[in-house]
Symmetry: C2
Subunit: 312 residues, 2 copies
């Protein structure tokens, strides 16, 4: 079973009659004068992170960041959250306080609050964050239109390169920081939400997350690799250490940039907002087809990124 | 650090300005015409359960039950939930489907819906449920008054005895079912919420959860053991297998009964509702004092139940 089939199984078996449920970054529930957004993301030791790579403080801040990113991807702003924490018994009180101090820093930085949660001893670190946010106009994955331009807010691959540096003990503070620190684009997301048709945050790789938009919208797309901003620094690291640039940029996870589709007409208005973004391709009606061109040559894609379900 | 100190640390460092945050079974957030309740409970393999004791189906239903119980303890009714699931890679697709089928049964049984969540492979089973509910009158722990009667909806200790049976391979379907199956008292909780001053669900032991009410309310209490309904079946099992009855009844966890305090005047009205409950003691102003009498003799209490923080 892959993720797509699993989500299909869930959608068929679990209806959320009060709003929009499974299948997007957040659930959407209409209240009197706005929409309440709720998302839940889990981070598990040795699956999502290696505790040797993160201080407790950094881990807490990153956990918040990835959840905030889901709220932003729906056009929302984050408000408050719940933390379910499994924390190894061998750890000390200081470790726990470092973790909560990280949470506090994240709260101050992003204007959010801790509203509740649960705590337990455990073998491995397990973090579950449920984030609540709000928006006046929720942006869904399923709304990409034929002819929409495909945009991204920053380049991809730098977080995945940072993880490679950590794993291979390559000393690069620049890329390691890109992996450790999530920069949720709260203001940029709010501006985009006024114009875009669909949006997602890139957590599992540019192509995999684009595939999610396309599958939900029953569309296809063509991407032009040369339009993706790839920094000289990333390119030279790939050459030096023999890393596959395509793999990093197209399938590297955890950049938490925003990926959106927008009508060409609305894009003219978005231009006037003066926020940085890059148009990298276009949506078409060829359902299930995703083509990546690089200087007119088609790139062969082995897979589209990380799928938690492929083992099942 | 114990739980009380940890909650104090959290309360000092994390303010929830929009409503009531840390320190009760749920957070409480006022919407236009009702209060939204949200709770998060985690269940970790080998900490909260042993997977040899539960089928995937039973585990899913129990996970829902313990979260629903928190909503009820605040005087609310459950509506929908989010599931963060870490599921071992060695498991099969069938195991996962059994788990989700259990969720579906729970949804049908208790009138709730799955609204979203997250999934990942992991070493051990990790379940995080965030449950959303509503009430017109939230009931807090901190509101017990001097002179309040202390009530419970059922006897305690049977779930803990069931766990002992499982661990010691004693064949008793009756008690094992008491451990495996949570019976959230949705209707009874809604009726109680019209009369009581404070309420909690007994998850970690009668005395520990009573202590939580008393600490929050800055009160003390006296309990009369002989008023607690202890079944003949439980008593005879304790004699036969040399289990400590006091320990099971006073400190055994996971009965998920409701424990409440109510003014003597309001209790006269509650009587007319014809729901079963037992008055087992009374609240007083002797802060931090909890005395348990059994036929006029004071029971010496070693500790009050399970505290996840005592290792820190």
């Amino acid at each position: 079973m892959n993720e797509q089939k699993f989500v299909q199984f869930l959608k068929e078996n679990f209806k959320f009659s009060k709003g929009k449920g499974i299948g997007d970054d957040c659930s959407v529930y209409k209240l009197n004068d706005y929409y309440q957004l709720i998302t839940n993301d889990i981070l598990i030791e040795n699956i999502h992170f290696n505790k040797n790579h993160f201080s407790m403080n950094e881990l807490a801040i990153k956990s918040l960041g990835v959840n905030i990113s889901d709220i932003i991807a729906m056009g929302g702003e984050p408000e408050y959250f719940y933390l379910g924490l499994g924390f190894p018994k061998k750890f000390k009180e200081k470790d726990l306080k470092d973790f909560y101090n990280g949470l506090k820093q994240g709260c101050n930085k992003w204007g959010i609050e801790l509203a509740g949660g649960d705590f337990s001893g455990s073998d491995k670190i397990f973090i579950s964050i449920t984030m609540v946010g709000r928006t006046e106009r929720p942006i869904y994955r399923e709304n990409a239109k034929n002819g929409d331009l495909i945009g991204i807010t920053r380049g991809t691959g730098e977080s995945a390169l940072g993880l490679k540096c950590l794993k291979n003990k390559i000393d690069s503070k620049y890329f390691i920081n890109k992996h450790k620190k999530v920069i949720p684009e709260i203001k940029r997301g709010r501006i985009l939400s006024k114009y875009v048709n669909s949006m997602i945050d890139v957590s599992d790789g540019l192509l995999l997350d684009l595939k999610r938009i396309l599958n939900s919208s029953k569309k296809g797309a063509k991407i032009f690799y040369e339009k993706i901003p790839v920094s000289k620094k990333l390119r030279s690291f790939c050459l030096k250490y023999n890393f596959n640039e395509y793999e990093l940029v197209l399938s590297g996870g955890e950049d938490y940039i925003l990926l959106f589709t927008i009508s060409p007409k609305k894009e003219l208005n978005l231009k006037k907002e003066n926020i940085p973004y890059y148009i990298i391709g276009q949506v078409n009606n060829n359902q299930d087809e995703l083509i990546v061109k690089h200087n007119n040559k088609t790139i062969k894609l082995k897979d589209y990124g990380y799928d938690h379900f492929l083992h099942l």
